[in-house]
Each structure stands twice: as C-alpha cells, then as structure tokens.
Amino acid sequence: MARSALSQGFENQPKAGAAGFFQTVHIDWPLMTGIVALSLFGLMILYSASGENWNTMTRQIIWLCIAFIVMFFTAQIPPHHLEFWAPWVFGLGLFFLVLVLLVGDVGKGAQRWLNFGLFRFQPSEMMKFAVPMMVAWYMASKPLPPSGKRILIALLIILVPVGLIAKQPDLGTSLLVGSAGLFVLLFTGLSWFLIGGFMVLLAAIAPVVWFFYMHDYQRQRVLTFLNPENDPLGSGYHIIQSKIAIGSGGLYGKGWLNGTQSQLDFLPERSTDFIFAVYAEEFGLVGVLGLLAIYLYIVFRGLVIANQAQSSFGRLLAGSLVLTFVVYIVVNIGMVSGLLPVVGVPLPLISYGGTSLVTLMIAFGLLMSIQTHRKLLTS
C-alpha cells in the first residue's frame, strides 16, 4: 500500500505539478502568445537592422529574458496589492524625477538618467506605469464618473510628472506618460463634453508650450516634420531617408537583409527609433500588414482583458496601458512614415533597447495580473 501509494505519488506528482503550474501561475496565455510572436519577429528585424551584429542581438536577447522575467513576477502580484502600492510607486517615481533633474546624467543633450553605480536608471520610464496606476487608484477610490474637482486633481497628478519629464527634456516619454494618465480619465466615463473641452484647451495652450516650454531642438523637429525637404542634409535627413526606405520597399519588400537604405547606412537610428523603416523596406506592405495584425491582436486581447476586469482600478489601469501601447505604435510608425514629428518613441518590442522593453513588459505583466486574478463566478 505504502509502496503503491508512494509510487503513485511519484507517478502523479509531476503530472499534477505541471497541470497545476499552468493553472496556478498567473500568465495570460493568449496575450503571452502575441508577445512572444512579436518578440521573435522583433529579433529577426533587429538582426537585419543591426547589420547582422551578434553583439547587439545577444544584448537584446538578454534584455528580452530580463523583461520576460520581470513581466512574469509582475503578473503574480494580485491587483489589490498593486492598487495598494500605487501611491507609493508614484511617490517614489516622482522623487526620482526630481532627483534626476538635480543630479542626473546627461546623455544626448538631455538629463534623463540616474546613476546607481551598478546600473543606470531612467525614472521617466517608471512613470509610464506609475502614472496610470496612480490615477487609476485615485479614480477608483470613489464612485465613477468622477466629479469635476477630482478630475482637476487627477490632471494635476498627471501634469506634475509630465512637466518634470518634459523638462529633462524628453518629449516622447512625457507624451506617453501624459497620455497614459489621460486614458485613465477617458475610461472613468468622463463626459464627452469635458473631453471635447479638454481638446480645445490643449489646442489653446499649444502655442504657449511652443513659445515658452519647448527647446530649440524640439521646435526644430516640429518644423522639420512640417517640411523635411527644407533641410535635406540636416534634421530633415532622417524623415526623408526613412520615407525613401519605406516607399522603395513596395508591396513585397526588397527581402530580408537586402534593404539598401538600411544596409548601406542611409537610414539613421535604424535599429532603434527607425527600425520600422528597415522592416517596411525589406518586407514591403505585406509585411507591414502582418506586423500590424500582431499588434492589433495584442491590443484587442488587452481591451478584452480591460473589459473583463472586475475592479475599477483594474479596468482603468488595463484600459490605459493598452491605449498607451497603441500610442507607442501609432506615434512611432507615424513619425517614421512622416505623418508625425520626430519624437523619441520606440516601436514596442521591436526597437533595440532594454529600458523601454522592461517597462513595456511590466505593463503586460500588469495586464496579466488583472486578467488572471479574477474571481470567476462560474467554475
């Protein structure tokens, strides 16, 4: 008996363990599938964009591993813990943002990095999830839709970190952080009238921002966007070369590793912000549609997760994170294809770079946490 029980235990335990793992571990497999597919796709594009540089590839693969691990652990935290910690995370992020302005490292003309000796850390990245968490926490603490006073406070919560980030200056990140916060408000059920009014207000303060808050190089970027041919060898060069790369790709592309614009170095920043142009040149419109399909799959899975979320906090956070992800895609492709001015926004999960990758995966971890910690009514 004991013997058989023992043997039975031995036989059954691994089985039960494996099944148990898939059941108990908090991973949203549909979302996971999309992310893995996108990551593999990204590696393939990066291989070409980096000029078949295995050094770059290795580093990106290591970052991907780190990011997946971070995502995994984030996903294991129950949403009510996330809700509880939201103000603290936000507060810490704000503290770092102030710190970075005082003692931050300067890179590429902007003060963005905090040096912790062992590693450098970009507090603005953290704000990409800290701000929506904070706004969601604040909004979820009272019944929705929110009152006008609470909306104003929420706007203040958003504006302070966005202002600090813009001051570094980092237009791309401040844009992403700001929209992450505003998306939370959108999902709170803010009246359309208020949303419309807010748009008008934004349009009104745009000139003020232009004249008083923008740096010369930022203004230059916008001007270049409006007319890149004005300065074809200077700041317009990026956009012109990028459009040439995309356009010359045609319907089917020039083939993997065969993009002349990218392989011959005409395309600047080809493994980071402009990696989409490399892809579009080598894989053509067909490839672009395929990539967009994967993105759409992830986005709609995210929207489903948001819609199924059980707490207000979870819903608001999930919705905001998904739309921020969309902003990444639209702003990056828009800028690379000349629809939007050049702001430093990477193509999510494809552009080379570890920091934004980890941030993105934390967001996916949050989504998974929200999705997998639901208490199902039907079992």
């Binding site: 009152s147 059920g189 356009g247 010359s248 170095d265 929207l303 919705g319 969309v326 639209v330």
Partner: protein
C-alpha cells in the same frame, strides 16, 4: 455636488460606461491603424516608383574615370612628357568636422606649405563638399608611411595614387612642349565639362595645350554602389576611359639640348626646321624654366621670381619674340632685286660707307665706316654691305619689297602648332597708313631694305623664311608634331606635311646665285660668318645680322664698351645646310649679342652639327 458623489457605487453603471469606452477605444484603434495602413499604401504602392528612384540615387552614383593623358616623344622616341604615379593627400571636406583643425594636425605628419593650404581652400570654393580635394601632391615614401599609420585618426583624409604629368628632361624644350596645370576657372568655362569630369589637369602652353584634344582622350565612368558615408562597396558597371593619344614631335631632344646649351647664360632663341617637311627640329628660347613645379601649382615665391626676372624665362622668344631682322633680311631683298630685274648678278654698286637720298641731308651709314668699295650683290651679301641694299631698296621701292617678302611668310603668323606666336611686322605703305595714319617716306624704304626700321620678325618666321629660300620657294607650315599614336598600339598615324604655298621662281639662276652668295658668307675669307665655315664638314649657306635695339644719333659712334648690356645690338644668324641638298634651316637670335658672325653663327653651327653630323654618326655607328 459633493453630496451626490458620496453615494453608493453603481457597479452596473460603471461597467456599462466602461464597456462603452472600451468599444470607443477599439474603434479609435481601428481608425488609427487604418490611417497608418493608408499611409503605408501611399508610400509603398502609390509613390513606390518615386522612392525607388530616390533609393537608387542614394546608393548608386556615377563616378567619372579620367583618361590617361597621351605621352609626348621626340623624333627619336625619347620621352619628353610622361605620367608617373604620385601620391597625393586628399580631403573630403564633407566628412571632416573641422577642416582647419585637421589641416593643422596633418602638418605634423606631412610637410604643408601655406601655398598648399591656400590652394586647397581655393579649390574648395569651386567644388562640392563630397568631392575629394588634393591638399598636397607628390608625397614622399616617408610621408605616405607616416600618414598610413595614423590614417584612422583622420576620417575623410586619404592618400590617393594618381598619375601625374612629369617632364623627365626638366627645362629642355619647355617652350615647345609647354606643360599641364590644374584646370582654372576660365578654362572650366570653355571646356567640355562632361569630358573633363574627373580630369584635374589641362595643357596650359606649348604642344600640351595645342594638342589638348589629342592628348586628353575620353572620359570613362564607373557606376558604383556606395553607402551613406560614400564608401565604395562595389562597381556595378564600368566603361573604361579612352586614353589620350601619344604624340611624336619632330623635335630632336639632342639638337634641342645643344641649342639650349649654346645659348646658356644668354637671352635668345634658336629655331631649326627640317626644310623638306617644316618639322621643327629645335625650338629653344633661353632662359627657360622647369615645367614640373607648374603641374600642381608653383608656389608664389618661385613664380614671382620667374615672372619678374628681367631675363623673362617664361617668355617664348622663339615664337613671341619681336626682333628687327637686321641684315638677315638682305638675302630676301637681294633676291627680290634679282627677280624684279632691279639688279643683275654682274652689276656693281660703290660703297663709300654711307648713302644719301638726293634731296635729303641725312647720311645713311654703312656698318663699315670706311665703306666696302664696289660690290656685286654676292659681295654685298657676303660682307653685308648696307649701302648696296640702301640703293637696291630705293630702286625696288617699298611696295615690291613688302610684296616679295610677304611670300616668305614675313608679317604673318607661321601657323606653328603652338599658340601665341607673333605675326611680326612687314612694313608697307598700306600698313603705315592704317597703323600710323602717315604716308611712307623714301628714307624708310632704305632702312627697311637692311632689315631695320619698322621690320619685326620672330625667330620662327626667320627660320621658315630661310627654309623657303633653301626650298626654292616651297613653303611648308612649321610644325612640332609629325605623328600621333593610339595608346597601346605600335603604328603611328603620320600627319602629312602641309604646304602653305610656293614663291614663284622666275629665274632659278637668281636663287642659285643668292644661295651661293649666302654660302660665301660662311665659306669665304671675306664672309661675315667665315669663322664657322672653315672646318665645317658640310657646306652652309647663311647670313649674319645685327639688329639695333635703339637708334644711334646722327654722327654718334656706336660705343660697345660703354653701352648698357640690354641696349647692345641683337646678334642674328640664319642658315641652312647642306647647301647642295638642304635638310635643315636655322635661325638664331642672341639678344644683345652684338655680333651675328661672332656670337649667333657659332650657335647655329653647333645646332647644324648636332643635327647633320651626329645623326650621320648615329646612322653609321
């Protein structure tokens, strides 16, 4: 307000609102993605061709390949101008952040003069930023090695091997050969830009300039693929340039050398012409200069030294020099006298040392104060009697003198195949009216008859005139080039000698007589050039001349001793040889040389020897 919101959560309503917003967001996402797809379709389908062209233009560029310049040989195949590989230091300004700082740094590796830098900046103004511009030419091996080691520190700077024109004999024949130099702005405006794409040098003077079209060849091109930094990755297509043709000069380097050596330390010119073809055997103008520094731009200091030298080394006396022919004109005037039946061979004219017009006090002097006594034309040529020719000229009249001499090419450019020759001046009634608005005076006919007065000839004109005399009237156009050769082929394409015209021979005996008279100049005891005749292994016909640089006042004595050097008479000598069957005609002018017989004739003798004697030695030895 506050009160109404503290009420209990309406979960159902919140969920409903949220779902509405999610649907709204989903629709928004679809719209945005649609916009992106539309944009992509616009770029990748509608504008595909446009961007494909731009991408091709980015990647593929057409680079001109300069043809190799043709070589120049002398008549014996001796190389006079060649192309040697030379290393130059070149900069692409576009790829250099701070050009001035880079140049400053380069100074520690290669020697850079202020002129090099100035020249570089000058060419920079006229070129595009991505073009490679030379900063220093002719780097030596040590400099090449030093730079190669540190090349990585100088992006945009490279060492280029180029073929550079080189003149192995230096100054030898420079006034005939000319030289090439960097193309300047003025030249850029007139030349065929397409054909000179990639060519940096062009013929500036001499044969190099005259035969530029032949020597240059045709440009080729390479279609190359390059990356954004302009690095050439591969050649997609290539059309090789057609190299320039080689040129063979009738110039004989040896004779040229002898001529130049004979003129050493003097100012003057020697022109020797092959009588049977018009081929120029020697064309010397001294002092000369080394053309090699000119190829890549001579430095200011050296140039100023050359340009401001009183000896005018840059001036091609052989074709541009304007000299009174003096007594070297007498054979032509004398022949005119015979042909026009003004004088006969037996007729004697007395010479008392001066000549006077019937209604004029002025005494026209003979160079020999005491006079020559009674002379035939032969004697007058042999001893260069002025009085005889005063009388002859007066009887001929200026019209016939001008008309006859014009047949020998005087007063016109000879048409030699280098640019810049003077037409000289053949005085005539008509000319004087046109140029000076004055009528002709009989006294002027007299001095015209002895080659003074308004007469101006260049050495090349004198040589051509002499050759016509030796040829019994046959007038060949003088020319330096007698053949061209396609690169890489053995056969020469000979250029046919060009006959400009013939002087009508009314009585061949007259010509025989004149030639014999000229022979007596050299080969008789009373000849003015007897010094060079007694030991000559062949017979020479010649005529000495001295040309006044400035007029001597009436009754004044020409005082050799006290005259400043540059006011002394020019010494001239014309000759051809062998008399029996002429092969070579020579004209020699030595500025301020004073004695045609004493100074100019020996130079001519050396040139004749070099051509006639040494050549035979070569043939038989």
């Amino acid at each position: 307000m506050e009160h109404s919101h503290v009420k209990i959560r309406d979960h159902l309503r919140e969920t409903r609102i949220f779902t509405g917003r999610v649907i709204f967001a989903g629709v928004g996402v679809v719209i945005l993605i649609t916009v992106i797809i539309a944009r992509m379709a616009y770029l990748q389908i509608a504008s595909h061709e446009h961007f494909t062209t731009l991408s091709q233009n980015n990647r593929v560029s057409i680079v001109p390949v300069a043809p190799t310049r043709g070589l120049i040989f002398d008549r014996n195949g001796e190389v006079l101008a060649q192309n040697l590989p030379s290393f130059s230091l070149e900069l692409v300004p576009e790829k250099i952040d701070d050009v001035d700082a880079t140049i400053e740094e380069l100074k520690s590796i290669v020697a850079l003069s202020d002129d090099d830098i100035k020249q570089f900046h000058k060419s920079r103004r006229h070129s595009r930023a991505f073009q490679s511009l030379p900063l220093r030419f002719r780097l030596d091996e040590a400099e090449v090695a030093r730079f190669s080691v540190r090349q990585h520190q100088f992006p945009g700077v490279s060492i280029e091997a180029r073929l550079m024109r080189e003149y192995p004999h230096g100054a030898l024949g420079v006034h005939a050969l000319g030289y090439v130099g960097r193309i300047n702005e003025a030249e850029l405006k007139v030349l065929d830009v397409a054909d000179y794409n990639g060519t940096s040098h062009i013929g500036k003077t001499g044969v190099e300039k005259f035969y530029e079209d032949v020597l240059h060849g045709s440009v080729g091109f390479k279609k190359i693929e390059s990356n954004a930094r302009g690095r050439i990755l591969r050649v997609l297509e290539e059309e090789r340039p057609i190299p320039g043709q080689n040129i063979f000069l009738s110039l004989d380097a040896h004779v040229q050398q002898v001529a130049e050596k004979a003129l050493t330390d003097r100012r003057g010119a020697v022109v020797a012409i092959e009588t049977k073809t018009g081929g120029v055997i020697a064309l010397a103008s001294m002092p000369g200069f080394d053309p090699n520094p000119f190829v890549n731009g001579i430095d200011q200091k050296s140039y100023r030294a050359l340009a401001s030298s009183l000896d005018r080394p840059l001036f091609n006396r052989a074709i541009k020099g304007r000299y009174p022919p003096g007594s070297t004109l007498k054979p032509f005037v004398g022949l005119a006298g015979l042909e026009y039946d003004i004088v006969t061979t037996g007729m004697k004219i007395p010479c008392r040392g001066w000549y006077q017009l019937s209604n004029d006090e002025h005494k026209y002097r003979d160079w020999k104060r005491e006079g020559h006594g009674s002379l035939t034309l032969l004697g007058a040529i042999r001893e260069s009697c002025d009085v005889y020719f005063y009388d002859l000229a007066l009887n001929l009249g200026i019209d016939r003198i001008a008309q006859f001499n014009a047949q020998f090419g005087f007063g016109k450019t000879t048409g030699i195949d280098i640019y810049g020759e003077t037409s000289g001046l053949l005085p005539s009634r008509e000319w004087k009216r046109r140029a000076k608005h004055e009528s002709w005076y009989p006294g002027e006919t007299l001095i015209t008859g002895i080659g003074q007065g308004f007469n101006v000839t260049s050495p090349i004109q004198l040589a051509v005139g002499t050759a016509i005399l030796a040829n019994y009237g046959l007038h060949f156009k003088p020319r330096l080039v007698y053949a061209t050769q396609q690169s890489g082929q053995k056969d020469l394409q000979y250029l046919d000698p060009e006959i400009i015209g013939t002087v009508p021979v009314l009585d061949k005996a007259n010509w025989d007589y004149m030639i014999n008279s000229m022979k007596k100049v050299v080969h008789s005891n009373r000849g003015t050039a007897r010094k060079i005749g007694h030991d000559a292994p062949y017979k020479i016909a010649g005529k000495t001349g001295t040309a006044q640089v400035f007029g001597i006042a009436q009754d004044a004595e020409y005082d050799q001793e006290n005259l400043e050097d540059h006011l002394r008479d020019h010494a001239l000598f014309i000759a051809f040889a062998p008399v029996e069957s002429p092969e070579i005609a020579v004209a020699v002018i030595v500025e301020n040389g004073e004695s045609g017989g004493g100074v100019a004739a020996p130079i001519a003798r050396k040139v004749l020897d070099a051509y006639l004697v040494n050549r035979n030695k070569k043939k038989h030895g």
